[in-house]
Amino acid sequence: MARIVILGAGIAGHTAARHLNKLVGGKHEIIVVSPNAKWNWIPSNIWVGVGQMKEEEVTFDLAEVYKKTQVKFRQARALSINPEGDAQSALPFVSVESTLPGKVGVQENIPYDYLINATGPKLNFGATEGLGPDHGHTVSVCTASHAIEANKKLQATIEAMRRGSNRTIVIGTGHGMCTCQGAAFEYIYNVDHALREAGVRDKARIVWLSNEYELGDFGMGGVHIKRGGYITNGKTFAESLMVERGIEWITRAHVKKVEAGKIHYETIDGSFHELEFDFSMLIPPFAGVGLKAYDKAGEDITAKVFAPNGFMKVDADYTARPYAEWGAKDWPKTYQTPAYRNVFAVGIAFAPPHMISKPMQSPNGTPINPTAPRTGMPSAAMAMAVAQSISDMLNGAQQPTHSASMAEMGAACVASTGAGFFKGTAATMTVFPVVPDFEKYPEYGRDIKLTSGEIGLAGHWMKYLLHHAFIYQAKMKPGWSLIPD
């Protein structure tokens, strides 16, 4: 019996666990290690952040779900990996530290035959002074608890407007190297919607502040879609939606510092600006969770296993090249680490070979460009591919048998622009492939037939349906595997 250890129980880690349980559960041991007791359907945190949903509607206890399966759950934080074992044992192992109440801080080594690193991101609020809900002046919707706090502050802001005060609301990215603009994009429209419902929209100045070169970049270098007899860049539609809702925008911005009520930012032309605010939700940049790696002799091999940003190196081509020479082939297919055939990294935990958007910097040398997104759909696809590969390798395959390159897969993103069964709307975007492939699609890098965008009530229904379908699937209720990942 082999042991498969999965670090992380977010979308990627939990997807891998579900599929491994189905494929090899009972025959082999599966252990999920996560510092969080609860699973969180992050895309719906937006609705928690405007008071449309409660925390219980977007989270559930992992231990309860795994109890019904062959998966063992350890509530613990991964600290380091010994992929060659150590002086005492040749078995590779991962060192973890418990976060379970009553056992907090207790460390143990868990040996493994296969390891899947799905640790997700460290929300790197510390990269910008004054950013974030814990030690800063802005709120976040990156976790359910952050979203609850965001809603409390939003409701206080709405109350102040009801009493007649004017308020400035700033939503976007809190650093020049952020990704996940989509979450902020959804949040700004849901805040706008909430303000309209409360009858105070005229009291608010709403500003989008982002590191994108142009609106609609989303870390994918923007998309082209067919609309109204033209093939048009998504920027046109993103700007149109902002104007329609009376939202201003500032792009090409790196937030340098946040003080109480004031954001300091630099723009790509090298100039420095200040923006006063009353309520602000800014997404932090992401980094790896800080896992260390040691070889058999106990030497630190973190730099060999991980990229400088803390994400794990996999089967990508990390050769540094100028933007014009980037290619679809650079992107990983199997997510197997080059040095250790039994170690994989999926979701946000793997190191992308480079960005998707073109790298840009200000004359002061400040990089201002979105980093590559790894949203739910690609994360689930790569986790599923790795689970299938490991299952086949346990049956004798020498190499991973399944691939899920972001340059060969599409993604669908449904961005809520206001909830409500009859009045709600959402922007539904599909893109294929996520990473442009200019060899296959010379004009726009993507398949125009599968790359699309539209706004409407149908998108809201989709978002609502996805919320319930994916939570049902994640709870591994009867027939869960029939729901596509």
Binding site: E244, A404, G410, M462
Partner: protein, 54 residues
Amino acid sequence: MSSKTVNKEPYQQAYYPPAPTGLTRFMRTCLIWQVVRFVVINLKILKLMAKSHH
């Protein structure tokens, strides 16, 4: 008696992007049309997913 005309300020950020017409806005929440779009979006996503798994 002359009425004062207030020109809308041109060349601002909001001056350039296309604005949806009344029909476009109506269609966004028109139940029958959105049921059709719901089916189309689902089919499109299924096709995209089918092409994505290797």
